[in-house]
């Protein structure tokens, strides 16, 4: 191949990259559409992505506004850090205690309650710890004694919740029998728990999404201490000048708006037999203000 041909192929390829990037914002300049264009980076927890919720919501938002959404699904801890560095425009997180620090530092503003579901402790159907039927605290104490427990240990909202549960029960996480730390997302961690036939704390949405491929069953659930609340924040443009404020606000307004809230409340019913989330926008905040 001659050098000229290589160069030509290269230019074509780079052109294709550009065109592809633009096509996601198609409709931007269409007359009559409410499009504003632009793009935002949404830093969020893995559960909103792994459950498929954002795959349903984001295209609706992009179609209505022309704003492209780059969904970066990491643990809530990492998502909050992206917000603190100004590397995201919107943060959707489920670690209310940790979130307070980022609001106090002024990195995250305009907190809005979006939805909730609950955490479950899942484990082998045989339940070797005999934890099922016990109240949360006693059940966890029994599990801590027999194990094995498979933990996220990735700084995510679920990880923070698990650590808080051990501490509330007066249990040192380091002394939980057979506790293994994956450092991975919820889906991957449930896979490890399945293979090890261990216990794991999971959000209901990810568990239901993976249930067809798991033999693990819910062992502890329904306790108010297992509530899992999602909030959305805009990254403060006063601290991070590159934040796309108008687009970020448009996304938050969409997320707490009637259309998206209706979709959130019904999401998963057809596929899993029960909704994965309860839509909460406008309701009293269970984690307080």
């Amino acid at each position: 191949m001659s050098l000229r041909r290589v160069a030509l192929a290269l230019l074509t390829a780079i052109g294709a990259c550009r065109a592809d990037g633009r096509s996601t914002r198609a409709g931007q300049g269409k007359p009559g559409s409410p499009a504003t264009g632009g793009s935002i980076i949404l830093a969020t927890t893995t559960s909103t992505q792994d459950s498929g919720l954002l795959d349903s919501l984001v295209p609706l938002f992009t179609a209505a506004t022309g704003i492209d959404v780059k969904v970066i699904a990491v643990g809530s801890g990492a998502a909050l850090e992206l917000g603190r560095r100004g590397d995201a425009d919107v943060v959707l997180s489920h670690a209310p205690d940790a979130e307070r620090g980022y609001v106090a530092s002024g990195d995250l503003i305009e907190r809005r309650l979006v939805m909730h579901n609950d955490f479950l402790v899942v484990g082998p159907a045989a339940d070797p710890a005999r934890a099922e039927g016990h109240p949360l605290r006693e059940g966890l104490a029994l599990i801590a004694r027999t194990g094995p427990v498979i933990s996220r240990a990735d700084g995510s909202g679920t990880d923070k919740k698990e650590l808080a549960l051990w501490h509330q029960g007066g249990i040192d996480p380091a002394r939980v029998a057979g506790r293994e730390m994956t450092g991975q997302g919820m889906g991957a961690t449930l896979q490890v728990a399945e293979q090890r036939q261990g216990y794991a704390l999971t959000d209901r949405a990810t568990y239901l999404a993976l249930r067809p491929r798991l033999t693990l069953v819910p062992v502890l659930s329904g306790d108010p201490g297992l509530m899992n609340v999602y909030h959305v924040y805009v990254v403060n443009p006063a601290r991070h000048s590159r934040v796309h404020l108008a687009e970020a606000r448009a996304f938050v307004d969409f997320l707490v708006g009637a259309g998206a809230q209706e979709l959130i409340g019904a999401f998963g019913r057809a596929r899993y037999g029960e909704p994965l989330f309860v839509a909460d926008a406008g309701k009293a905040d269970p984690t307080g203000n």
């Binding site: 290589v6 290269l10 990259c17 990037g21 980076i41 792994d50 780059k70 969904v71 100004g86």
Partner: protein
């Protein structure tokens, strides 16, 4: 997943292909210079290049991410989580491979060759092209090594691309996503496709390489 499969394959070839070609365009001349010139610290530089041939993609990804993220020095370019960012990271991964393999190939040629060509009246550029012709087996090996390394890496693609559905998800990162979701059969199929893609590319290049050896 099915409807998205073709775009993912196309994107994988596009990103890794462009990154490899750029790495060859930049790396082959560098490798030639490293093989032919004599300067202080050359051996040290070669050792660095050879170390770079095993550069951990996830570290490259992290550094490129720090550079391109909004809070980074190149944040204003707004390139983070784009194909261009992935090409940049894969270029960095592929470059030392191309430089190292090229340098080894050129050094394997008779030492007197450039002087001979120059004395026969070829200019420096023509000399380089003629030597590239002689070293073509090694250059094609460099191309294959580079492409094989970047198409299969997942660390950098994930970090700087963000694995965005419909824009930066490639075969390697899609496999991670599917595995996390427990869709093992689908993950395995994509793994097979990735292998097939690497094999097809190497088959073509090997045929070219072996033909030109006759």
């Amino acid at each position: 997943m099915d409807a998205q499969l073709w775009p993912i394959i196309g994107r994988t070839i596009l990103i890794s292909g462009v990154a490899t070609v750029l790495a060859v365009l930049a790396g082959a001349p560098l490798g030639y210079l490293m093989a032919r010139s004599r300067f202080r610290g050359r051996t040290l530089l070669l050792a660095l290049v050879n170390t770079g041939m095993g550069l951990p993609p996830v570290v490259v990804g992290l550094v490129v991410w720090l550079l391109l993220a909004r809070s980074g020095p190149l944040g204003a370019l707004d390139l983070i989580y784009t194909k261009q960012a992935m090409i940049a990271a894969q270029f960095v991964i592929g470059l030392p491979l191309v430089v190292g393999v090229t340098a080894a190939a050129v050094q394997a040629l008779p030492r007197e060759l450039p002087d001979l060509l120059l004395s026969l009246g070829a200019g420096p550029w023509r000399t380089m092209l003629l030597i590239a012709r002689e070293a073509r087996l090694g250059l094609l090996a460099a191309l294959m090594a580079g492409f094989g390394a970047v198409i299969s890496e997942v660390g950098a693609a994930m970090t700087v691309g963000g694995n965005l559905q419909g824009s930066t998800r490639v075969l390697a990162t899609a496999i991670v996503t599917l595995t996390g979701r427990g869709e093992i059969a689908a993950a395995l199929i994509l793994g097979g496709l990735l292998l097939l893609l690497a094999f097809a590319t190497n088959l073509v290049l090997t045929v070219v390489q072996q033909r030109s050896d006759r």
